[in-house]
């Protein structure tokens, strides 16, 4: 666009960013990447006891933020909008109310909010955040799996090379890594519970993988 010459009022106007609300109207029901698996029916008819529990946390709002947390202005605005400061210690996460923020790299964070709050948060960032930064709504390309139970670590050990021993992987830690030949952002949410942010295009494959890897322990699907 550098060769386009702006004239008159346009030359001095501040460029505005158009933010699209990715949620359709209330009359249109969203479908998660595992919609076809009909987890409600599987949960109703399937086993109620087992070593591993699986739940898809559907249709959340996921935002990838890239900025400079060493820039006090950016850090302050991010904290104001998120209600919590960006975690700057590698591989950590913070959670407050229905907002959670994961450290992805020294200048990148993954924010998760309820699906119906993503647009407002995006709009607020574009209105208030100063300087050079990037905020991208990646909700449509991802979904979240909640894995828990007495044998959840046994399933993870089959699936990822990351060391998930308690001494190396405390509650709150988050890693981006390979998971069953795909990729995932894995966060420990409790002593026996982990959260996986996975790619939409791998959602079905990973659901099949998890069923297979959990078979020997018994898989309980929750909806």
């Amino acid at each position: 666009m550098s060769d386009v010459k702006a004239t008159g009022a346009e030359a001095t106007s501040v460029p505005t960013k158009v933010v699209m609300n990715q949620l359709p109207g209330a009359g249109i029901v969203g479908q998660s990447p595992l919609h076809h698996a009909d987890l409600e029916t599987v949960a109703k008819n399937g086993p109620k006891q087992g070593g591993v529990k699986f739940k898809e946390q559907k249709l959340m709002g996921l935002l990838t933020l890239r900025c400079n947390a060493q820039n006090p202005e950016q850090a302050a605005v991010a904290e104001k909008l998120l209600g919590v400061a960006l975690p700057t210690t590698p591989l950590t996460s913070v959670e407050k109310g229905d907002t959670s923020v994961r450290w992805i790299s020294p200048d990148e964070w993954l924010i998760v909010v309820p699906g119906n709050k993503a647009f407002a948060l995006e709009s607020a960032f574009f209105a208030d955040m100063p300087g050079h930064y990037s905020l991208v709504n990646v909700s449509g390309g991802t979904t979240i799996y909640q894995l828990s139970g007495a044998n959840v670590k046994d399933v993870l050990k089959k699936s990822t090379p990351v060391d998930i021993h308690d001494s190396e992987f405390p509650v709150g830690k988050v890693v981006s890594t390979v998971f069953a030949k795909s990729s995932a952002v894995i966060r420990r949410t409790g002593e026996q519970s982990f959260e996986l942010v996975v790619r939409r295009s791998f959602a079905d494959y990973l659901w099949l993988w998890i069923q297979d890897a959990s078979r020997e322990f018994g898989l309980v699907v929750e909806a």
């Binding site: 790299s105 020294p106 890594t177 990729s183």
Partner: protein, 99 residues
């Protein structure tokens, strides 16, 4: 398998998470229009293939996706150090090979 320390994540991860990107510290000619074909050819195509200490570029592809440098012994495969882009290696090969 390498067990590689990522200087950005500040912990060791399996080699499976990383991609190798060849020799490190390759300086692009500052003025490509006026450099000789030989200079440009050396920049584009010619790489060291040392037996011993090698400085190389790695990418934590499945993790933080940041690039960093590794000093590795190509004979023993031992990783001597990792250091961030823009930094210089502490471990370097002897100027005169011992043999």
């Amino acid at each position: 398998m390498f067990h590689i320390y990522c200087p950005h994540c500040s912990e060791y991860r399996e080699e499976e998470e990383f991609h190798y990107h060849g020799q490190a510290h390759i300086a692009r000619p500052l003025d490509p229009d006026s450099c000789t074909d030989e200079e440009w050819g050396n920049y584009m195509f010619f790489r060291k293939n040392p037996k011993g200490i090698h400085h190389e570029l790695w990418d934590h592809a499945a993790g933080c996706r940041k690039f960093f440098n590794v000093t590795r012994n190509t004979v023993t495969y031992e990783i001597k150090e990792v250091y961030k882009i823009g930094e210089q290696p502490k471990v370097v090969a002897d100027a005169v090979p011992s043999k």
